[in-house]
Point group: C2
Chain length 229, copies 2
């Protein structure tokens, strides 16, 4: 029997590449997405399509309404998504308003719970700390600390069989991620990165996430399948 | 202006004592509970009553359906709540079936998110590693690792202003907790500890949680206000 891996799927380019990597490494893959009240809820439809298209064993969407707290342009309609260019790799003093408080901590915590029930020994998350928006919970030091905590948190962890958190994209540039995914046969036309994609999945082309994605395709020399407004 | 503290409220004896401690320490207190699909959902009504009775500034119940994963007697009706006596402080090799995978990790992660939006610098959780059910995520080493991770996870943490996780009960016996709470004026008749309390809030008197509570009142020499079936 194959070992199980749980992959966090946002519907975006990075997490889809992660799924392709985990499949290529021979795991039975389980997909997990979050309906957290995100502005760009269309990404969930993309995640579901991707999970189906790529043949995950099981796929769950967990509702966790972070709009109850707000505090981010992605979970509070009163906060505008910036459309001005920012630096490629912003410093932590410039964490943008699209940062969602504790989002990856919450997502990884829930993944840890499902992984323990599934008896999955591997969790993949597509965080990246090169071409990224400067979120603190995308950095390697955060993931390492989460791993240490997780090993103490669960029955499986205490028994030395807790999941390993894999971040295969963490040190890659966006263009390297795209090249790697293209080699693995990822269909990026299924993915949505835009923070304010419309209901048909069309991207704004202006937000931080769109700009990182666009530059990535340009630099990779891969044709960009994104539908822009 | 007073500093803010966020208190995780389960409706039980320990978290209610935590709230009394935080109030006594002079914080403006915010209450947070989770509707996680728990068998003993009546505890949520107790938590709400307690929050109101003790005058928290704001109170939220976050729905996070852990029944989607199951894997515990508290979130899967097919797993029975044990009614046989267990040792007072079980070893980790005897983690009982009432353990809910990653529950405290998930709860603290969500608390971390709300605390950041609130700008609350203190989070209280009533975990205890003396008279407890042997859950890995109630131990001091887990809380310490969570704190380290949290300091790296959020904007507030990175800026050195992330919340401190307080566990004032972690080394107290159940009877000491009851004595302390009684001194602080806690009305324990409002609290529910039973894993399978009925709809009127009556306790079974047999489960692990009931036995720890009963012994606590006995040893504290405080009259037990619990309504048993």
């Amino acid at each position: 029997m194959k070992e199980k891996a749980l992959i966090l799927l946002s519907g975006g380019l990075d997490s889809t590449t992660c799924l392709a990597i985990a499949q290529q490494q021979g795991f039975d893959c389980y997909g997990l997405s979050f309906d957290y009240g995100q502005r760009h809820r269309i990404e969930l439809l993309a995640a579901e399509k991707i999970a189906k298209h790529m043949g995950v064993v099981d796929y769950k969407v967990v509702p966790i309404n972070l709009r109850m707290f707000g505090g981010s342009a992605l979970t509070d309609d009163a906060i505008h998504v910036p459309e001005a260019p920012s630096a490629g790799s912003p410093s932590l003093s410039e964490i943008p308003v699209t940062y969602v408080p504790a989002r990856n901590t919450i997502f990884l915590a829930i993944a840890l719970g499902w992984a323990e029930v599934l008896n999955a020994k591997h969790i993949y998350i597509g965080v990246n700390s090169v071409d990224y928006s400067g979120y603190p919970d995308c950095r390697p030091e955060f993931i390492r600390a989460f791993q240490t905590m997780a090993n103490l948190a669960t029955r499986a962890g205490v028994e030395g069989e807790g999941p390993i958190f894999h971040t295969p994209l963490i040190s890659l540039s966006k263009s390297d991620i795209i090249k790697l995914g293209t080699e693995l046969g990822v269909d990026y036309s299924l993915t949505i990165s835009c923070y304010q994609a419309d209901e048909s999945g069309q991207a704004c082309g202006l937000c931080d996430s769109c700009r990182l994605r666009k530059n990535g395709f340009d630099q990779a020399g891969v044709s960009d399948p994104t539908k822009y407004k």
